[in-house]
């Protein structure tokens, strides 16, 4: 029985638990005429939960611990002699697992019977060849000690799997039965299922935390590696970004951070006012027809692949700005510029601001508007002085989201702003952002273990810390100026 089938059986038991629990609660209520503490469905849920949760937890724990324990045991069987020079025990163990897995498949596909397998010997059979038949890749031929280890790995794993199945099913049945016995009108069934839901909710919010840990962890290792190869001082304080293939690169983050900041600010300067005005217009002025058309239509802007925006920046906006703005003003001849990327990205960000703000504005109670109109305020006064402050926290959230998106955008910047890392004030010159360089250094032709590639991780981590700071600042601001209605 594979874990999948086991899980399905547990789920079937769970369903049965639900039905029985519910039925029992109903029966009790009728017989005693007692008022149930909770709805019958809650009793069903409680029984179902007791059936499912301990069993699945046990199963998860088992699945997690079993390989560790078995590995430990098998690993001690392997003599040092079969461990190749410079190799590690863990590599051999990986081989053992792979072989055991392959043997399983051999048996499953009927190529080898269980008996034949037990008499199979590494020095007489071409194990590598046999396993290749079932698509298990081995790096080299199999040493007898390793093969024996694999065989005992299999038998231990089999026993363990059997024990696991029994234990899990017994747990499910026992807990389910106990829970069913405990079903009484006074049982706080709803609290049980609500506690469970609550822990699910908590679990979900932990996903975000885990993601952060995952990100930091997956960046940190290579970042440390990078700083071993490249001085941190130069990375953080050098104003030159100039990677080279032959080493001796200048990898200063400052011009990239500046570019990120500059492009994002330009984008937000376009997106925030326009987005807010759209939100206001749709929420407060427009008729239902326009609103129900315009809102989803504008949301499409967020869904157009950024490469389209990139091409738009490259082919249309860039040359236009160059010919009509940069050259007449003598500010340069570059067709890719901060302004190009910023403006085009701003368009993409409009729906982030407009849609979310529109929802928040719409949620401000009508009584607020009435109060203001009743005093003779015009609609715009009402909006600016009453509705906006009331909706402020949500709007700040929307802007933050847009800013976040601006910082993380790649394609538009590559095509619109160019790839030149530069510290400058002229918005009509090419610049580039941290994100762009993360992508290009990571997907480039340089060897992985060189600072030129690893710098991508350091850039990612720095940006992460940097935006974290910005977010803390934003939270502080929102806290300070929030105004609660009702």
């Amino acid at each position: 029985m594979t874990p999948g089938i086991l899980a399905i059986i547990v789920l079937v038991l769970t369903a049965a638990g639900y039905v029985l629990g519910r039925r029992r609660a109903l029966a009790l209520a009728k017989r005693d005429g007692a008022r149930l503490h909770s709805l019958p469905g809650h009793y069903g849920q409680a029984v179902a939960l007791f059936t499912m949760v301990p069993a699945l937890l046990l199963m998860a724990a088992w699945l997690f611990l079993q390989p560790l324990l078995i590995d430990n045991q098998i690993s001690s069987q392997i003599p040092d002699s079969v461990i190749p020079e410079g190799g590690a025990r863990s590599l051999v163990m990986a081989d053992v697992r792979r072989i055991a897995d392959g043997l399983d498949r051999l048996v499953e596909t009927g190529r080898v019977s269980e008996d034949a397998l037990s008499s199979m010997q590494a020095d007489t059979t071409d194990i590598r060849g046999r396993l290749a038949e079932v698509g298990v890749a081995l790096g080299s031929d199999v040493a007898p000690a390793v093969f024996d280890a694999a065989k005992s790995y299999r038998s231990i794993a089999d026993t363990s799997a059997l024990l696991r199945n029994i234990a899990v099913l017994a747990t499910a049945l026992a807990f389910g039965f106990l829970a069913l016995q405990r079903v009484k009108p006074a049982m706080r069934a709803r609290n049980i299922s609500e506690t469970f839901i609550r822990s699910l909710l908590i679990g979900s919010s932990l996903v975000a935390i885990l993601t952060t840990f995952g990100i930091v962890a997956s960046l940190l290792f290579e970042t440390i590696h990078f700083f071993r190869l490249y001085p941190a001082r130069d990375f953080f304080f050098s104003t030159v970004w100039n990677p080279q293939f032959r080493g001796g690169s200048d990898l200063g983050i400052l011009p990239l951070l500046w570019g990120t900041f500059y492009v994002s600010v330009v984008a937000l300067l376009l997106a925030v006012p326009i987005g807010l005005m759209i939100a206001i217009y749709l929420a407060e002025y427009s008729g239902r027809a326009l609103r129900s058309f315009a809102k989803p239509a504008i949301e499409i802007l967020a869904g157009i692949p950024t490469i389209v925006y990139g091409l738009f920046a490259l082919i249309t906006v860039g040359p236009f700005l160059r010919d009509w703005l940069a050259q007449p003003l003598g500010l340069g001849t570059s067709s890719s510029s901060v302004l190009t990327a910023g403006l085009v990205m701003g368009i993409m960000l409009i729906p982030f601001v407009s849609s979310l703000s529109d929802d928040v504005i719409n949620a401000v109670p009508q009584a607020m508007r009435d109060g203001s109109y009743g005093l003779g305020a015009t609609q715009s006064e009402t909006i600016r002085k009453v509705i906006m402050p009331a909706a402020l926290p949500g709007i700040v959230g929307a802007i933050l989201l847009a800013a976040s998106r601006a910082i993380g955008e790649t394609m538009i910047v590559v095509m619109g702003a160019g790839a030149a890392a530069r510290l400058g004030l002229n918005p009509l010159e090419a610049m580039t952002t941290v994100t762009v360089k993360i992508v290009s250094q990571l997907t480039g032709d340089t060897e992985f273990a060189s600072p030129e590639t690893l710098v991508a991780f350091a850039l990612g981590l720095t940006l992460f810390v940097f935006t974290l700071g910005l977010n803390i600042l934003a939270l502080y601001i929102v806290r300070k100026y929030r105004e609660q209605y009702e």
């Binding site: 009743g374 009453v386 105004e483």
Partner: protein, 271 residues
């Protein structure tokens, strides 16, 4: 301007019974909310510098009529108003009319207290600010203080003027809303059950205030309390199922109504 003086003269001569010059006039006012008709051809004159009370059972259209008087109904999409309503002889539903100016002249206090999510001070200063009635900080301080005092709230909140208005108790909130309306010194003040959330002491203060305001302002008040109507109003109008049943001097309405329904409603009253 003539009308104004005339009205003033008339009122001093005959303080009650005889209708004063009308400040606002509703002619054949009908209101639909979508399909549903809420008012059926109401004809009503609101006398100048008097208090008119609108009474009637719940859902009969009092609030609806009141909201027509300063076009608050404009904000409800499905609401359609027919007939005409005149303010000083000018039709307020004329397309050339400026609703904003209208509402500055015809202020409103609502049934549910709805302070803005701002400080108490800002709540009151809001009207004067948008209408440009005050410029300097001192002027604002002045108008905020007087308005709060008139609404009988000043002493309770004087130490927390800069805390949010939403943190007040229900009654305090409603008085704040009254203060807010007074702060723009409108000509007509519409009040939709302004005291329904107030305790007797505060109610008394507001009623006193209404009496005081009557010197300069025209007031229309919706109320469920017959006592209140009797106490504060000079004229009373009785609504029923979207119709104006009867209108007349308050005293007469409460003692000798023409309509059977008014009679029933009033005698069916308690306390």
């Amino acid at each position: 301007m003539n009308m104004l003086t005339d009205a003033a003269v008339e009122e001093t001569l005959q303080p009650l019974y005889k209708p004063a010059a009308s400040k606002m006039t509703g002619k054949d006012v009908t209101v639909h909310y979508g399909e549903k008709q809420a008012l059926f051809g109401v004809n009503l004159e609101v006398p100048e510098k008097q208090v008119m009370a609108l009474i009637g059972p719940s859902g009969c259209g009092k609030s609806t009529f009141l909201r027509c008087l300063n076009r608050m109904n404009d904000t409800i999409d499905i609401c359609r108003v027919g007939g005409s309503i005149l303010l000083d002889g000018e039709d307020i539903y004329d397309p050339r009319i400026d609703v904003v100016e209208l509402r500055a002249r015809v202020g409103m206090v609502f049934q549910k207290p709805n302070p803005f999510p701002k400080s108490i001070y800002e709540n009151v200063a809001y009207g004067p600010r948008i209408h440009g009635l005050a410029w300097k900080k001192s002027e604002f301080d002045e108008v905020v203080e007087t308005s709060l005092q008139k609404a009988g709230l000043f002493n309770e909140v004087k130490d927390r003027l800069h805390e949010p208005g939403t943190g007040l108790s229900g009654g305090q909130q409603q008085r704040l809303c009254i203060a807010r309306a007074i702060a723009v010194s409108p000509e007509v003040i519409l009040m939709d059950e302004p005291c329904s959330a107030l305790d007797p002491i505060a109610t008394a203060k507001v009623e006193e205030l209404i009496d005081e305001l009557r010197q300069n302002y025209t007031i229309v008040i919706v109320t469920h309390s017959m006592q209140q109507a009797a106490r504060v109003s000079q004229r009373t109008a009785m609504f029923h199922l979207g119709n104006l049943v009867e209108e007349g001097p308050t005293e007469k309405m409460f003692t000798n109504p023409d309509d059977k329904r008014t009679q029933d409603y009033i005698t069916g009253r308690f306390g």
